[in-house]
Symmetry: C3
Subunit: 153 residues, 3 copies
Amino acid sequence: MSVYERLEALNIALPKLTPPVAAFVPFLRSGNLIFLAGHIAKLDGQPWVGQLGANLTTEQGKNAARAVAIDLMGTLHAAVGDLNQIKRILKLMVLVNSTPAYTEQHLVANGASEFFAEIFGEIGMHVRCAFGVAQIPFGACVEIDLIAEVDDK
Amino acid sequence: MSVYERLEALNIALPKLTPPVAAFVPFLRSGNLIFLAGHIAKLDGQPWVGQLGANLTTEQGKNAARAVAIDLMGTLHAAVGDLNQIKRILKLMVLVNSTPAYTEQHLVANGASEFFAEIFGEIGMHVRCAFGVAQIPFGACVEIDLIAEVDDK
Amino acid sequence: MSVYERLEALNIALPKLTPPVAAFVPFLRSGNLIFLAGHIAKLDGQPWVGQLGANLTTEQGKNAARAVAIDLMGTLHAAVGDLNQIKRILKLMVLVNSTPAYTEQHLVANGASEFFAEIFGEIGMHVRCAFGVAQIPFGACVEIDLIAEVDDK
């Protein structure tokens, strides 16, 4: 199965690229590396507002992280044109909007990590850094940035 | 106009490189990538102390982010010798010292992003990750690190 | 002295690679870059729990950062097979579990930075970004991720 067939089997439609709301770009390529801007969690097209430890459960946070991963996949598709050219999802940085007492950022981050592994298989297995931040733009509950590697051409 | 002419037109003097106060270096090159250490905001040569949501406005935070961008530009100049050799500002990570209720980190970060776009044009347009942190060394209000790409030689 | 002789002179045994507790991998290579996942501080094999500014001193935080650096070195060894092939420790991102009032993240981070300089000399001198985060998985006091460069082959 190709990446697109797996997405379709899961009934996932990749979102269209939305222009950043500020003075930056959604992706850039340098050599074989693709850098994606930080993507915040969205629900029905609006920032997915909330804080883990306050008003969101770990399960909700995990779903939010998965939603971000789907948006990142949409941006990756826009960046490379064909997701089958991705050689490796290299690195995720997963920021979890957290109270000072919430310590399950790794479980929240799994919502994104497991999605990439599910869609890409071995190629989707990445290194990761997940931690709790004081806040995220627009009050979103999760923000993720990503580095991927593409094949030489 | 060259990068230096634009800086002069804005009456901006690049700071001299200041040695890190700890056991690390201000920049490193690997292949075509230049990695800059995290730079904290300074005011009159001292840490620009404050927290967004507590004792600094978004406009003040944006000015602080612009000040960091000028310092980063000074370090980039020291790293490459000639800023016109910069091929692309690739990525900023913008850390905003934030209370748990402050959610305008993206507006603060624009102070840096808009500066790079202003000086470098298209080459200055980067991917970005901005978020709120619990604290920053010396109590500074903003910290930014940067990755740039230089031309092959 | 080789890297391994310096480690032995300091009576440091590199830990065996421990598999991540979540859906990611501990290291990946892309071109000449090695990306390491975020490593949390451990004490006697368990998460080194605590928060700077609350229940840990700067000196304790610095020791925790040094412990993370030793674990990162173990992972680097697993990644490259021979630490003498490391061309440069490029970058550390040092996350310090901090109260909103704690501002000595740079001193905590020195525990890791000084270790890499001690073991690798000039090659161990890196760029660094250190800051205070709201929380870290499992309540750990410090988390660090790392990018290193290896020689062409």
